[in-house]
């Protein structure tokens, strides 16, 4: 894993990736499920414990007392940890991000995919691999040919202990990663790791060789 990250550098926009410039809160409307009691039903208002605002810019609205005449409840929206990117702010539309270090213009991820990758990263670091996986698949449905999504999905599968699927997903990523040597190297590195876990030392060595060649 560590080695991969060294190679990848900032190729993936993730929280904690050091860079320069301002921090941008990216809002994704999914959030961790609290352990509040829940009921079934379409359109039921999930009860969410008001979380403490992480910075003064967030308005936390407390759910209305039930039985009142207002059926409207609002929830605190999560604010993502600041993403470090080159400059500017994330527009609300799917326009291209400004280039962070090391990514070509055509490798920029736009709004929803970026937001989901960020969410997945949080879920993963919180130990919720299933949630991370679900968020990444959501991203994949939006951008099925984005190798960065497949790369992350392969990583999560590896963390979940499914090395065979990790390898397949990385290979799928490779089939879309033409002309992106950094990403290809990272994907080959993942293939190598997955093969190692499956006890295929020769295959792993071959993949490592491919990783070196692409760079």
């Amino acid at each position: 894993m560590k080695r991969t990250w060294l190679i990848m550098g900032c190729a993936l926009l993730v929280a904690g990736c050091a860079g320069s410039g301002g921090s941008i809160p990216v809002v994704d409307s999914g959030r961790q499920v609290s352990s509040e009691d829940r009921h079934s039903g379409v359109g039921r208002q999930p009860q969410v414990q008001p979380s403490t605002p992480r910075d003064s810019g967030v308005v936390v609205m407390v759910p209305d007392d039930a039985g009142g005449s207002r059926a409207v409840e609002s929830y605190p929206l999560d604010v993502q940890p600041p993403l470090q990117t080159g400059s500017g702010s994330v527009p609300g539309t799917g326009t291209q991000q400004p280039a962070p270090g090391g990514l070509q213009q055509d490798e920029q991820l736009d709004g929803p995919v970026l937001a989901l990758l960020t969410t997945a990263r949080q879920q993963e670091s919180g130990g919720d691999l299933n949630g991370a996986s679900a968020s990444l698949e959501r991203a994949m449905r939006i951008a099925p040919r984005e190798p960065q999504v497949l790369y992350r999905l392969a990583q999560v599968r590896l963390a979940q202990g499914d090395a065979a699927q990790a390898e397949q997903l990385a290979r799928r990523g490779l089939s879309y990663a033409g002309g992106r040597p950094t990403l290809q190297a990272g994907l080959w590195e993942l293939v190598a790791e997955a093969r190692e876990r499956q006890g295929d030392a020769a295959g792993a060595a071959e993949a490592r060789q491919r990783a070196r060649v692409t760079l």
Binding site: R38, V42, Y75, T93, G94, P112, S133, M140, G178
Partner: protein, 775 residues
Amino acid sequence: MAKKRKAKSKGKPGLGRRILGWTIKLGLVGLVLFAGLVIYLDAVVQEKFSGKRWAVPAQVFARPLELYAGQQLSRDDFVTELGALGYRTVSAARQPGQMAVSGSRVDVYTRGFQFFEGIEPAQRLSVGFSGNQVTSLSGGNDVVMARLEPLMIGGIYPAHNEDRILIRLDQAPPYLIEALIAVEDRDFFQHFGVSPKGIARAMYVNLTAGSVVQGGSTLTQQLVKNFFLTSDRSLVRKGTEAIMAVLLERHYPKEEILEAYLNEVFLGQDGRRAVHGFGLASQYYFAQPLHELELHQVALLVGMVKGPSLYNPRRRPERAKARRDLVIQMLAEQNMITPELAEQARAKPLDTSTRGSLADSSYPAFMDLVRRQLREDYRDEDLTSEGLRIFTSFDPLLQNKAEKAVETTLKRLGPADGEIELEGSMVVTGAQTGEVLALVGGRNPRFSGFNRALDASRPVGSLIKPAIYLTALEQPQKYSLVTLIDDSPITLDAEPGKTWSPQNYDRQSHGWVTLHHALSRSYNQAAVRLGVDLGVPQVLKTVERMGVPHRWPAYPSMLLGSGAMTPVQVADMYQTIANGGFNTPLRGIRNVLTAEGDPLHRYPFEVEQRFDSATIYLMQEAMTRVMTEGTGRSAYNQVPASIRLAGKTGTTNDLRDSWFAGFSDDLVAVAWIGRDDNGRTRLTGATGALQVWSAFMREAHPRSLSSQPPEGVVMAWIDRETGQGSDPSCPDTVQVPFRAGYQPLPGPGCRPLLDVEVVKDGGNKVLDVIRGWLR
């Protein structure tokens, strides 16, 4: 109990004393029995009320509609989905469940929902559209993406067909509790389970009428009746009910009893299914969650408690409205609402939704698929009682388009020979995800009988051919798209003593043709010759690698599709080509939550690379030619020519089955037309199933296939006629993709010098060149 015993007179002590003694003894026995009964009933009440009170069927949800700038979605489709979710049109969306529609934007206040990977908040959004695309999404906090809550498409019911959407007391809308108490049980909060006043009144009425015609039942008694007892009206049952009501009140607080009542009360019948509880009734009659209901809607439901079929708003609107207005009036009389508010509420229409049923029976083909997939992991009783929440990939918008395509095309084609109705089926999947998005099981999509999409196994005809050509293209040293294939007549040994001479559909032979030409024109002789050269077992192995485990014998006739597949299997096979050579098991379920909303099970995306992506790219290229110049041409009468599509027609012997399977960048769709008695349809793949497929694609607005070659593919100029390497300066040259390293060497250019090439094709060309010199 009251057995009359005649005491034998023996002239011993006084008669009166003896009767008194007996009475005391009998009374004591009665008391003991009564005490026993009470203890027994008490156990019954507690056991039932403290444990799991209801078996809640699993709820099945469609995919949630994603919203983000750039999403492929038309404004009309968006409004359709909002309508199905019971959103109300208003001038300004101020609370969840409301939308305001204008020319190119829709303002909507979404309802919050809990998904597998987190909670989606309720929020106000403004969505801008242009053509078939979302161009902008704005709301609070720089929102980048959002989801609507998913449409519930059905439940998985136990045999007794009870359904519920459980609600908590605090989720009741304003006036619901007030109205219920005002109408059904005025002193609910004062009585101890039974209301002597009410009973006295009822007894008086019943005695004068000579039979039981009225009940003075409290809400508690009604709950007991629904919960523990049958509905016969005997005095014994009445007594038991009263005892149990008192016991219930002793053990449980009023609030808990009221909440149970809200979830238990019977409010209508939806086909075979009973509608229990206000939560479900709200969905059933208004297609809205309960807490969104307004006073006039609440009053309608409360009025129905007395007689759900008597006051059914869909069947007896006048009577239902009169009853509703009476409830509103009672609220006003008891000073729970102001006269003005009552007036406003009475002026409103019934406001029930048009959909006459919950989605239980709406999408039987897809629900069938969901059930089958769940049975692999869950026991039936878990599915019908645990209230599991099942999230699927089902896309109701695409489903409606697929249904319409099947219905309208079959109507247009009319009946086959002998006035036999044609049947049809369709499968739509996500090309990159392998998720089943829509499923049509027959010409009547509401009919839950024979699910042809999953169960009609029919010979596939020419749909098998991509497997032959794919097998060839996997040998780049021997085959490319422009390799010449012999389409001359061929006779093979079939079963002992029989020979088999396949014919082309046009009864012609076409000599040597390029590989892609043979596929796009669906030449049978060329396909059989090529398949025999490659080896029938090899071709059949390719079919398995494409995702269809078939167990077919390796007869040459298999090369022309005498083997049978179901539409779903065909979708699986073509999915592998659409998906760049990666096979994914088709699946309809994404994940499962418990009733409490805890993640329970995920069906993750899984892929396996079965073919190399360069080979698949060539295959896709050949299959796009089916659409541009081959048997699939007529699709472009309905779909814009700018959309790159790939596909293949299939026709079986004697025109019995008509197939078409094809894909865009984002959708794989398979259409089948045939007869249940396997009789002749008189349709080819192109005149039948392709028409269904094209009608669907016209409405589905598919994304154009990418023509961007993957690594390992190079483009080369070749002569259209000979397939030899050529040069762009020559006439009749085209660029064709090849596996890298196997492209032909470029030919000499055709600058207007002395050109040796012109001799090649005989006099005409020579004369042309000479004319050119003379000019």
